[in-house]
Symmetry: C2
Subunit: 206 residues, 2 copies
């Protein structure tokens, strides 16, 4: 499938569609209209149809979407038919919680390597993962095929750590540090900052 | 300031501008053009100017934005000139990490109440907060002015817990559970699901 010039904002909605469709499938549903999907996902039906039309449509007029078929297609589009090993850098409270989080593995994401610079944390085992020294990042990443990183270091260490990750082959970073990373083109970053999310909410609380 | 019909997507970018401007201010910068801000925040300058024009503009042609003035305005728009007390429901690994997280308090968000249903967790103290029984939600919220909740319960408890929170006056929920909540109009929800963020990234990793 040729995927060129798809707006980021369209791509960002596909995982939400996939999550909702998986939920509906588990409830025993087989076919869904864009209007019905719209009610579940909170995005207008016309937007859903337009988003999916970038990739070929998948719906049957007057009938709707075959849920299994649409899930298969979305998983292909999002490259989810494989296990994605990940490195996590920064094993403080948040890092430890993420290593324990079982939602990653259920969706094909596996924390395969954990790095920290704290001698008290290096060598400890968390949910089956032995934390390694971040000083060994290059050697550890060289002998892996990890391309995704979770970045959970303090804000003042985030930019330099991200640069080191990129220098060692990381192509995508989920950034939990509350700063905007400045990285080369070709490296994808998604920011997950709860304060930014809260500030979107307080706008509506007057 | 009248704020009507501002698209959600515009509102969602304001916290990112604010975060970046705060960072630049700490570095000693006083004035910035939309082009320069664009490079820091990764959003086109024309989009930044358009977003800010919804609220009055704030820039001086040929000179740029006075950073302190723009920060003040953004904080007013986002209702950030106050402390926002929050309740967290679900004190597992993630909930505990969030209670420890110091980034909330720095930005005026304070976890004032923690609730759980696990007898082993109820009554324990985490970072100065004594965890209360979720069965006492109504009484605890009645004697507070909390309107924001962090929802960190398991997915299968998220909808019913969210409904109970709304019934007790909560108006905004930061939802960490990997499901789409179905709540009355007037309640704002922001979803913070790391798997959805990762799936946006794998799209670009072929």
């Amino acid at each position: 499938m040729v995927k060129t010039n798809i707006p980021d904002i369209v791509v960002s909605r596909l995982p939400l569609y996939l999550q909702t469709l998986n939920h509906l499938l588990r409830e025993g549903k087989e076919v869904i209209s864009s209007n019905e999907l719209s009610q579940h996902v909170g995005i207008p039906a016309v937007q859903i149809r337009k988003d999916l039309s970038f990739f070929g449509g998948f719906g049957v007029k007057g009938k709707g979407y075959d849920i299994i078929h649409l899930i298969d297609n979305l998983r292909n589009i999002l490259n989810l038919n494989q296990i994605w090993p990940m490195v996590i850098v920064g094993v403080g409270n948040l890092g430890q919680a993420l290593i324990h989080y079982q939602g990653f593995a259920r969706q094909g994401f596996e924390i395969a390597l954990a790095l920290d610079n704290n001698p008290k944390i290096i060598g400890t085992e968390i949910a089956g993962i032995v934390v390694q020294d971040v000083a060994d990042m290059q050697a550890e990443l060289d002998r892996s095929d990890i391309r995704i990183a979770l970045l959970t270091v303090p804000a003042n260490a985030a930019q330099s750590t991200a640069e080191a990750l990129v220098a060692n082959g990381i192509k995508a970073i989920l950034n939990y540090a509350p700063i905007v990373l400045n990285l080369p083109d070709g490296v994808r970053v998604a920011n997950i900052d709860p304060v930014l999310m809260l500030e979107r909410l307080t706008y509506y609380l007057s």
